[in-house]
């Protein structure tokens, strides 16, 4: 039976086993490969996406669990790398191999959505579930602080919330047409 949910504002309907993790639905069924496979056990964070704005590990989330809900992946964080976290990541030149960075960015974006000015220890708590074997942690820390500044300095009331609102509007529109 088909399972329906919304990815980056676009309704999706997939006919897959209900226990298939969201990660593989995104990557193999929908062809959205920005979300990465790293461990399959929620140990490394490479597969992090947002479920209704909360960071989750898609590798252990059965697709049946997201039916009717809204998912945001790295591809949908912004259309043009304009999310404060992406801007900060570019400014600080965070990635090396880059493989873990989708998950790092999604975790950081979820952190900033809840905590506009995280301390180092807030960053440790929010980001320690995301492994980077290239060891980009020092720049990740710096970039999270920078993203918080960019977020605050943004001309719009809140860039992060703005993105989320735009997503909601889009979802409603598309949902209405469906």
């Amino acid at each position: 039976m088909a399972i329906q949910f919304i990815v980056n504002g676009k309704p999706q309907s997939v006919d897959v086993p209900p226990n298939m993790p969201l990660l593989w639905v995104l990557r193999d069924t929908l062809g959205m490969t920005g979300t990465k496979f790293g461990c399959g056990m929620a140990l490394c964070g490479a597969c992090t996406v947002h479920l209704e704005g909360e960071a989750i590990r898609s590798c252990i989330t059965p697709v049946s669990g997201v039916a009717g809900k809204k998912i945001t992946t790295i591809e949908g964080l912004s259309p043009d790398r304009s999310h404060p976290v992406q801007r900060a990541w570019i400014e600080v030149d965070v990635p090396q191999c880059g493989y873990c960075q989708s998950g790092q960015i999604m975790s950081a974006a979820a952190l900033l959505a809840q905590n506009a000015k995280p301390s180092d220890s807030d960053i440790d708590d929010a980001m320690k579930g995301n492994i980077c074997r290239c060891g980009t942690y020092q720049r990740i820390r710096q970039a999270v602080h920078r993203a918080a500044e960019l977020h605050k300095a943004s001309a719009k009331p809140s860039r992060l919330e703005g993105t989320e609102d735009a997503l909601n509007e889009q979802a409603v529109e598309v949902g209405g047409a469906a």
Partner: protein, 719 residues
């Protein structure tokens, strides 16, 4: 900026060989219309190839062919910097493409196309500069010919050619097609480094924009029309094989399309990765576990210990160490030991293969294109010239992706089922079927004179030979230099030195792990040096500094690290520090690690690592800093947590829960300092791994008085 990297190849890339490149052409690589990048190119706008690395389009965009694998070490950007410096093109108009497997792209360090041994900048520095200079000369000549003026009256600046006398100008794109028809000039003078405007400047990575929005394509992201997904079940015991299997239940799993036996195990093929995993779980297999079924970490350690009484292959001999030891005022001895280590790249091992009657295509995160090509040919039964390697971004490499095991598995599976197949390894597969950093065992002895200075040093090392495992017959007299690098290369002025190696093969697959032999031998030698300093009642820094009187570049990094760390100043209460210095791959690094130890909780916290490096002339200082941080984190993971242990011939670790790596909450502050140098540039990707663990263990000794001679660091070491 257009920094997108596409796979695929332009035939014209092969029509012109560079001044530095080999002359052989492999025109068979080109299949018209196959690649999207070409299909999107409007007629008549095909880029002109100035040499094997540089193609310029009428719109002035410059494509640089990247013949090294980008696995996080920043080589894509470094190669573009070197090329752009001599080509004098507009940095903002550069885009890149990963090169196919071809002789033009052989790495002179290996005689093959491949990335490793921190050799990329070292080996590309001259060819890339010469190619850039020759290409610029051709562009100048083409403009001069068009203007009917002398080339010497023209100049270039940022991708534009000027004839100042007549105030005319042409862009590189305007004349590229004409330039490409010219003969490649030989021995074009290279720039004076004083005029460099790109090399030596901190430069942002060109691959960052595609790595913040999910666009960068790693091997695991490759999708081909009609592609199926495979997972392979391998014998858990090294050297074992399939005795028999029943695929009935596996084939009943929804989505599973096929189950085939291949040389390395049983491949389950499905219409998605998840179904392939479920199908694999449902396989019923009987294994022939082979001769290693009883191997254990303990038995391997004992095997090594037994070798210590046997003479090995001589790796270094200076003076008469045995006599000097016997006559020394003080003699100290120690046994050091390290376990196997997994690479644990963030991108699990994978490979996509499409075997057809007349060609085999492989998309892979490979570090060794030539070996991948050879293995794709062998496994498909086709000729190497019909094996096409499409290198993707690598989600980490660290030496692991030099292997061809994943190429063999994907090609054999695609051949068996007659469809394109993406093979993906689980994290458990990755942990349990790696080519591990060898477990190694060493006995060290030193003689110290009455004045506290060393008079003799001996080391006997026992471990597997990586070179013999990968390139049988490549070593001489049973001496694998990689097994002793970091100790046979001892840089200190000690008059009598003897180092030998007892090759010992416990049957566990081994391979190149970031910094290779220096990763363990650096631990042995730099911790033992600390033992000598303490025995001789010397400060560990002063002790090293004085004994490095004949190693000026090591002396330089040691002094810089100590100065920046404030070695001469007291530490805050509860803080301790250790120091280590090593050469690796013709580069030099010293580190000071600052820690505190909670002896009740039996934990260590690393607060700060100061790292000084000398890599010769620096291409991208920003990247040297990144690589130092990266290597320090890699070293910390190995020292604090890293152990692959063996029981019943199997690896006991499975995933990041029992093979831990450093996380954000344990990250120290890292400071990197670069020694200015005009020596030839060398590599930085591995350099900062080896000093970290000994500097850390020396700091722990300073805190606890306990010597750590076995890795990883255990709770009882901190009590």
């Amino acid at each position: 900026m257009s920094a997108g990297t596409t796979t695929g190849m332009n035939r014209r890339g092969f029509l012109k060989t560079s001044a530095a490149g080999a002359a052989s052409l492999i025109v068979g690589f080109y299949l018209p219309g196959r690649f999207e990048a070409l299909a999107a190119t409007p007629a008549g706008a095909e880029p002109a190839s100035l040499n094997a690395w540089m193609l310029i389009s009428p719109d002035d965009s410059v494509k640089i062919m990247i013949d090294k694998s980008e696995m996080g070490q920043g080589i894509l950007t470094a190669l573009c910097m070197i090329a752009a410096e001599e080509l004098d093109c507009d940095w903002k108009k550069i885009h890149t493409e990963f090169a196919p497997a071809a002789k033009e792209y052989f790495n002179p360090a290996f005689g093959m196309q491949g990335t490793g041994g921190s050799s990329s900048v070292r080996s590309s520095w001259d060819p890339m500069r010469k190619a850039g200079a020759a290409a610029r000369d051709m562009l100048l000549q083409a403009a001069a010919t068009q203007w009917k003026v002398d080339k010497s009256a023209c100049r270039t600046e940022n991708g534009v050619i000027y004839h100042d006398a007549t105030k005319r100008k042409l862009t590189y794109g305007n004349v590229a097609a004409a330039a490409a028809m010219l003969p490649v000039p030989q021995d074009v003078p290279l720039k004076d480094p004083k005029q460099y405007r790109i090399v030596g400047k901190p430069t942002k990575r060109l691959d960052t924009p595609d790595k913040v929005n999910g666009r960068a394509e790693f091997g695991i992201d490759v999708r081909r029309p009609e592609m199926l997904y495979a997972m392979v079940l391998r014998c858990p015991v090294f050297g074992g094989k399939v005795a028999s299997f029943d695929a009935t239940k596996a084939k009943a799993v929804p989505g599973v399309k096929n189950v085939v036996e291949i040389s390395r195990g049983i491949a389950v093929v499905a219409d998605n990765t998840w179904s392939a995993m479920q199908g694999r779980r449902a396989l019923d297999v009987k294994w022939d576990e082979g001769p290693n079924a009883n191997a254990s970490s303990e038995s391997i350690s004992q095997l090594y210990a037994d070798q210590m009484s046997k003479p090995g292959a001589e790796a270094r001999k200076e003076g008469d160490a045995a006599s000097a030891l016997a006559g020394a005022a003080q003699k100290i001895e120690a046994v050091y030991e390290v376990p196997y280590l997994a690479h644990a790249t963030m991108e699990p091992i994978n490979c996509t293969a499409d075997v057809r009657a007349d060609r085999v295509d492989v998309w892979a995160p490979t570090q060794f294109q030539t070996m991948a090509q050879g293995m794709a040919a062998k496994s498909s039964g086709l000729k190497p010239e019909n094996a096409f390697i499409h290198t993707t971004y690598l989600g980490g490499g660290f030496g692991r992706k030099a292997g061809t095991d994943f190429v063999i598995e994907a090609v054999e599976t695609s051949k068996a089922i007659g469809k394109p197949v993406k093979l993906t390894w689980s994290r458990e597969d990755d942990m349990q079927h790696d080519y591990y950093r060898p477990a190694s065992y060493a006995k060290l002895a030193a003689g110290i004179g009455a004045d506290g200075w060393p008079v003799a040093w001996t080391t006997r090392v026992a471990c597997s030979s990586i070179m013999e495992a990968w390139f049988p017959g490549s070593t001489k007299n049973n001496l694998d230099p990689t097994s002793v690098e970091g100790v046979a290369t001892l840089p200190y002025s000690i008059p009598n030195i003897y180092v030998d190696y007892v090759r010992t093969e416990p049957g566990i697959p081994v391979g190149f792990w970031r910094s290779v032999g220096a990763s363990q031998n650096g631990f042995f030698s730099e911790c033992f040096m600390d033992e000598l300093a303490v025995a001789g009642k010397k400060d560990p820094y002063e002790f090293r500094r004085r004994l490095l009187d004949k190693a000026p570049r090591l002396h330089g990094v040691l002094e810089l690290a100590a100065q920046k760390a404030g070695w001469d100043k007291p530490l805050a209460a509860g803080r301790y520090r250790g120091i280590a210095v090593l050469e690796a791959f013709q580069s030099y690094a010293a580190q000071v690690v600052e820690i505190s130890v909670d002896r009740k909780a039996r934990t260590v916290k690393v607060h700060r690592v100061v790292c000084a490096v000398d890599v010769g002339r620096v291409v991208n200082p920003a990247n040297i800093v990144m690589q130092s941080e990266s290597a320090i984190v890699y070293g910390l993971s190995s020292g604090l947590y890293g152990a692959i242990t063996i029981a019943k011939g199997r690896v006991e670790q499975t995933n990041f829960n029992n093979y831990q790596v450093l996380r954000m909450d344990a990250m120290p502050v890292i400071e990197t300092y670069i020694v200015p140098s005009e020596e030839k540039p060398t590599g930085a990707g591995e350099l900062a791994v080896p000093p970290l663990v000994p500097a850390l263990c020396n700091a722990i000794f300073a805190a606890t008085g306990k010597r750590i001679r076995r890795l990883p660091i255990r709770a009882e070491d901190l009590a």
